[in-house]
Assembly symmetry: C2
Amino acid sequence: MKVKSYAAYSPTSLLEPYEFERREAKADDVVIQIHFCGICHSDIHTARGDWGPVNHPCVPGHEIVGQVIGVGKKVKKFKVGDQVGVGCMVDSCGKCENCKANEEQYCTKGAVYTYQSNEYDGKSYTKGGYATHIVVKDKFVLKVKKGLPLDRVAPLLCAGITTYSPLKRYGVKKGSKVGVIGLGGLGHMAIKLAKAMGAEVTVFSTSPDKEADAKKLGAKNFIFTKEPKNFRALAKKLDLIIDTASAAHDYAPYLNTLKIGGTHVLIGVPATPTEFRGGPLIQGRRVLTGTLIGGIKETQKMLDFCAEKKIFADIELIKAKQINEAYDRTVKGDVKYRFVIDAKTF
Amino acid sequence: MKVKSYAAYSPTSLLEPYEFERREAKADDVVIQIHFCGICHSDIHTARGDWGPVNHPCVPGHEIVGQVIGVGKKVKKFKVGDQVGVGCMVDSCGKCENCKANEEQYCTKGAVYTYQSNEYDGKSYTKGGYATHIVVKDKFVLKVKKGLPLDRVAPLLCAGITTYSPLKRYGVKKGSKVGVIGLGGLGHMAIKLAKAMGAEVTVFSTSPDKEADAKKLGAKNFIFTKEPKNFRALAKKLDLIIDTASAAHDYAPYLNTLKIGGTHVLIGVPATPTEFRGGPLIQGRRVLTGTLIGGIKETQKMLDFCAEKKIFADIELIKAKQINEAYDRTVKGDVKYRFVIDAKTF
């Protein structure tokens, strides 16, 4: 089927209207009319070639919600009219130990990402959600409950699962003390989710003017990080840190706020390396780790949790023609906290 | 009581004979005649002031085995004639959450280390095991079974527990795949212990001539690390890495040998920082962590495990007057794998 989209024709060009053919639905495919698609910082890095060369035209977008308008003949889980979501992945081998453990994002053959990934057919590469429609294998389609603000649900498919997964993995519960580094798209979801799980949240930020917003989102404490003494009162207090900062930073002052055995989870991927010393890990048996989105089963759990707790992203809804301006503002951090594209405007 | 020892009188001086008074036994103290004391690299760093200024005269030594020659009136656990060990700690607050969790090494008030640590009396600082006798609170004295080669048991009190603790914590069992970085005092214990727990061990080393010894100690595989291509065959294969290297090194090639969720444990403390990128942690949900010796209860378990499995350090037994030469050789890595001082020679 022919779909309308926005695409980057080269790493240096603006995104422009682009029409292309989506594949015909195979037996296990779901055909989705997209309603909304969030703008993730990864979209920008990919379209601009920051993470290496990509195929062009490049159609980004992996925070997708919409409605089923057709299903392949073997599809049982979805029917026309269902509300659905698609996140960062659209396929994986399904047979390796990680796929079997419901962690398709770590598929040993390589997960097929929603855009700019080679398909298992060996011919095509994926095009994402800045489009009117998408065709996705049923296993990678998520159910979205009725009655939710769909535009605000879209960012859950990446920013939501990426922060939910480590909060769950490291056992956040009532009374947990959780730090969140950086207050952007990921950070604001981390605050909301940790708070909903019962945690006391401390936000670390380089911008003192974000304190009021952090507290409005649910944080109890706010640390302005450019003043080293601000870290002192927190020494050995936190159970978990969710680190969403995308600029290189020294991990030591943060690690020292963790209790013995506490965990610092990297989500942001700084472009430059940081100087690292093992002392705070050894002295407190602390853990530095990372996390990559979450598996499909866990993504469904996250969507259900958010529906139950009424957790949605704070967004700015835009038209397709505003994408380039939104990119520039996202890079500057000038968005509260996610741009979401109205797919009617493609 | 008056004891003979060897001490450094300044950071730049050689170790020389030194006589001093040990405290009289308090009600909960055990008086120990030292038979053997291992030389740990930490002794050298401390005596030479590498880790900051220290009190002098400095009597190092925290790999101590000997025999009980007296006990305070409240001591129930030990009697004259018992064989015992003393490791890196001789006291802690006993009341904080970490002490209560049998992790005295992370005591929030600060554990009292066996040498160069301030005692809780507020007056004295500790002097270690390069001496004829030591007086230690009963809770910090370990039982050593009869019939073992005591000189080869001594290094278990630091090198043994430091490697045993993470191997146990991260669940090494039959079939586990364990990497060991560096083949020195810690590394050779890590190989023996991991092998005894049923693991398949891979040794990473910058010295190709260590391959034969690594295999004799129980390693199945040996990787010469200066050749980057040697890492390739190991991609995503290991469950756990015990990193004993004391020179700064890039963690990335090692992290990439870990399975999804695998753990890289730092034990060595390089003096210089290393350049670090979060990619391998994020891409494989891998863990970089550290560990500091082990608690007293766990140290007893380790000693019992080693007695049962007949695991002892490979050592070179020396006289007190050879300590300075042994220090120079330890710094050069010229020892297989631990110097142990015969305490009769003080």
